[in-house]
């Protein structure tokens, strides 16, 4: 389906990037691995298609700085941020800056695939130039799951346990979900297509 999609992995931890490459390769993704942000920028090509998987804490340029730099270069690749120790502040900065998602290590492979796949789909839609590009304003699979569980009356802790993520990440999803829904309300029917 995404035969030409590539996951661009940036992590300073050798074992982490190596294992991610191996795992995603086995899952059928094409991967390209970088030890730091600078290396990726050197190799960067605007024609790249797929998704980036970037660690926050790296010597030199951080994941968030890399994201900002890519935005400056008008890169349309979705960026998924990973962190070894998730804190709400970092997650919020990342998501505010337009990151596609925020994941805490160790990452459950099902969640990872899910997130990457929807990011790739969004990118594909964007590249096709269709109105589906506005799909970023729609809830991601993950956000939809959180939204469903919230509606069902679950607490943040329960949701975290069910989805296998930390409560803080649930909070982040929740706030982003609310933000998106508000945006949709504000814009009214204009984004109700698709």
């Amino acid at each position: 389906m995404n035969s030409d999609a590539t996951i661009f992995i940036v992590d300073d931890d050798m074992a982490v990037r190596d294992s991610l490459g191996l795992l995603l390769g086995l899952k059928g993704f094409r991967t390209q691995i970088f030890a730091n942000a600078e290396n990726l920028l050197k190799a960067y090509n605007p024609k790249w298609f797929g998704c980036m998987l970037v660690d926050v804490r790296m010597p030199g340029m951080s994941g968030l700085e890399l994201h900002a730099e890519l935005c400056r270069r008008a890169c349309d690749l979705p960026v998924v941020i990973m962190t070894a120790y998730g804190d709400v502040a970092t997650a919020r900065i990342a998501l505010k800056a337009g990151a596609a998602d925020f994941l805490e290590k160790p990452i459950d492979d099902a969640v990872l695939i899910d997130v990457l796949q929807s990011a790739i789909d969004a990118h594909a839609a964007l590249r096709r130039g269709s109105s589906a590009g506005k799909g970023t304003q729609h809830l991601t699979t993950r956000e939809q799951q959180v939204s469903d569980l919230v509606t069902a009356g679950n607490t943040v802790k329960q949701i975290a346990a069910q989805l296998g993520i930390s409560p803080r990440t649930v909070e982040v999803y929740k706030s982003r979900m609310v933000q998106k829904l508000r945006v949709q309300d504000g814009v009214g029917g204009s984004s109700s297509d698709a």
């Binding site: 931890d13 074992a15 982490v16 190596d18 294992s19 991610l20 191996l22 795992l23 086995l26 899952k27 926050v56 804490r57 790296m58 010597p59 030199g60 951080s62 968030l64 700085e65 070894a84 120790y85 804190d87 970092t90 900065i93 805490e104 290590k105 160790p106 990452i107 492979d109």
Partner: protein, 547 residues
């Protein structure tokens, strides 16, 4: 006394038995109190029986009133052959019994406000006792004169003797009973530990007692003035060293010594004078002893608060650490999980490659070992402060720490510079711990700059080589540390921030010192703060010795 006091729920037969015991004790004390009694009356300058009465009422309340009120009458009948319904017996019941029982009830009420003896409580106690004793002395002396036991001209003398005697008896024995019953038992272990000192004090008290009352042993002219005030010294010494409990015992021993050995050599007037001085001595001893007990209680309380605080400190430190530990552990865990998941995916492949499966499993094992090392390293540090030294590249260390904080800095519009001297040698240190120290210093710098509303705050990390060590300094352009806090910033719970516990620098110091380094404040003024730490160079020999 003690055995009676420890019972608070008493059955009827026991009550009768205890009442009889009380009356017996009262009469006995009354009998021994008849020293230099005035004109064959009960009036003497020593009233230990009154102390017993008040103590019992204070302990058991108004329900013992029938016994305590009647006991003086019984004593009068037994000791002085008074007629059972005569004025002497009834006078004793009304004056002594009623006044002091009422005094006991009042003191019992007041005591509720003072669960522990305090100087304030002692002042209240003293005021109530002195006024009750005066009231009783005036009433009782009047009754005795009316009854013809005393000549009318000796009224004031009788009042004086009775007043002094009762106050003396009460003030010396009552606090002893009260303080022993609220339990200065905690002192017992301390007393056992310093028994030598206590013996010395007892010996000094004994010597001073012998010198003070030397004319009683015929060692000097009876007219020789007795330097009574010498006795204040050992009593004050004991009070300041041990508090109220031991002072109580010393005063009681002194009083018994006076009654047993000295009184018979005295004239009634000189004995009365001694009893007045004993009241003053006891009062002084009590005030000092009780205030010392108060102090040690407050100290003990503060120590326990210190304990709470340090356990809170420990918890805060742990929460600061979990962030670091989380980061150190989650990377190996992430890789481990990925390798294992990959391995199981490989098994599902129709034509799986044994070699790559083996390689994935080997790598998983490597990551597991890595996480074990992180945990072991931390555990060892926390267990004994032992650090796992390795050769650390100072540049790498500084770069990493700065990278970890860079997000915060840039998002706040701050510039963070790193200046590392070229060709720095390696240092022998625990990488994780030093990284925590640097991050902590950087976080402080960030807070300082952020708090000062500077548009373009500046933070600099400078790493330089010195003779035997490498110095890391972290400098910020914040408002500086308040002058009064500058010499104590490395102590726990010193903070210039409204949030947080002020633990950061204390932890930094212990981590740096665990790595045989030193941390200090280079400067702090309105233009900013600079804190530096140094870590010894890691020569090959050092590494071998420390490993």
């Amino acid at each position: 006394m003690r055995s009676i006091e420890q019972q608070s729920e008493v059955s009827w037969p026991k009550a009768i038995w205890l009442s009889a015991l009380y009356v017996l004790l009262y009469v006995l004390l009354d009998a021994v109190s008849l020293i230099h009694a005035l004109q064959h009356t009960e009036i003497s300058p020593w009233g230990p029986n009154i102390a017993l009465m008040i103590a019992v009422v204070m302990r058991y309340g108004a329900r013992v009133a029938p016994v305590t009120i009647l006991a003086p009458g019984i004593s009068e009948i037994v000791l002085r052959n008074a007629a059972p319904l005569g004025l002497a017996a009834i006078g004793a019941v009304v004056c002594l019994g009623c006044t002091y029982t009422a005094c006991g009830v009042l003191l019992r009420r007041l005591q509720r406000n003072y669960p522990q003896p305090t100087t304030q409580w002692f002042a209240v106690l003293l005021a109530v006792i002195v006024s009750s004793a005066l009231l009783n002395a005036m009433l009782y002396s009047a009754v005795l004169i009316y009854n013809g036991d005393l000549s009318a001209g000796s009224y004031l003398t009788a009042v004086r003797i009775d007043w002094v005697g009762d106050v003396n008896g009460i003030i010396i024995l009552l606090p002893l009973v009260l303080i022993l019953s609220v339990g200065e038992a905690g002192k017992l272990s301390e007393i056992r530990a310093h028994i030598g000192l206590l013996v010395l004090q007892a010996a000094v008290l004994g010597c001073v007692f012998l010198i003070t009352f030397r004319n009683a042993w015929g060692m000097s002219d009876p007219a020789d003035q007795t330097p009574f005030y010498l006795l204040f010294l050992p009593i004050i010494w004991i009070a300041l060293r041990w508090g109220a409990g031991v002072t109580a015992v010393a005063l009681a021993a002194l009083q018994i010594g006076i009654v047993a050995f000295v009184a018979k050599h005295n004239t009634p007037e000189s004995f009365l004078a001694i009893q007045v001085l004993m009241v003053l001595l006891a009062g002084t001893g009590w005030f000092m002893g009780i205030s010392e007990s108060e102090n040690s209680r407050i100290n003990a309380l503060m120590h326990s608060k210190d304990g709470e605080l340090s356990s809170l400190n420990a918890r805060m430190a742990v929460s600061e650490l979990t962030a670091v530990i989380g980061h150190e552990l989650n990377n190996p865990f992430a890789a481990l999980v990925n390798y294992l998941r990959s391995a199981s995916l490989m098994l599902d492949l129709p034509n799986f490659d044994r070699a790559s499966l083996q390689s994935a499993l080997d790598k998983a094992q490597g990551e597991a070992a890595r996480s074990v090392n992180v945990v072991r390293n931390l555990r060892e540090f926390f267990r004994s402060g032992v650090v796992r030294r390795q050769s650390v590249d100072p540049r790498e260390l500084a770069e990493e720490a700065l990278a970890a904080m860079q997000i915060k800095f840039r998002s706040a519009g701050m510039a963070a510079d790193l200046q590392v001297e070229v060709d720095l040698p390696l240092i022998a240190a625990d990488h994780l711990q030093l990284s925590m120290v640097l991050q902590n210093l950087l976080a402080n710098a960030y807070d300082a700059v952020c708090g000062s509303d500077q548009r373009h705050g500046r933070i600099a990390v400078v790493v330089t080589r010195r003779a035997n060590d490498v110095m890391f300094s972290v400098e910020d352009s914040g408002p500086g540390i308040p002058e009064r806090l500058r010499d104590q910033i490395f102590r726990p719970v010193t903070s210039t921030k409204s949030a947080g516990m002020g633990l950061g620098l204390a932890i930094c110091r212990s981590l740096v010192e665990a790595n045989e380094g030193r941390i200090w404040l280079v400067r702090s003024d309105v233009s900013g703060t600079c804190i530096a730490f140094s870590i010894p160079l890691g020569t090959r020999e050092v590494n071998e010795v420390k490993a």
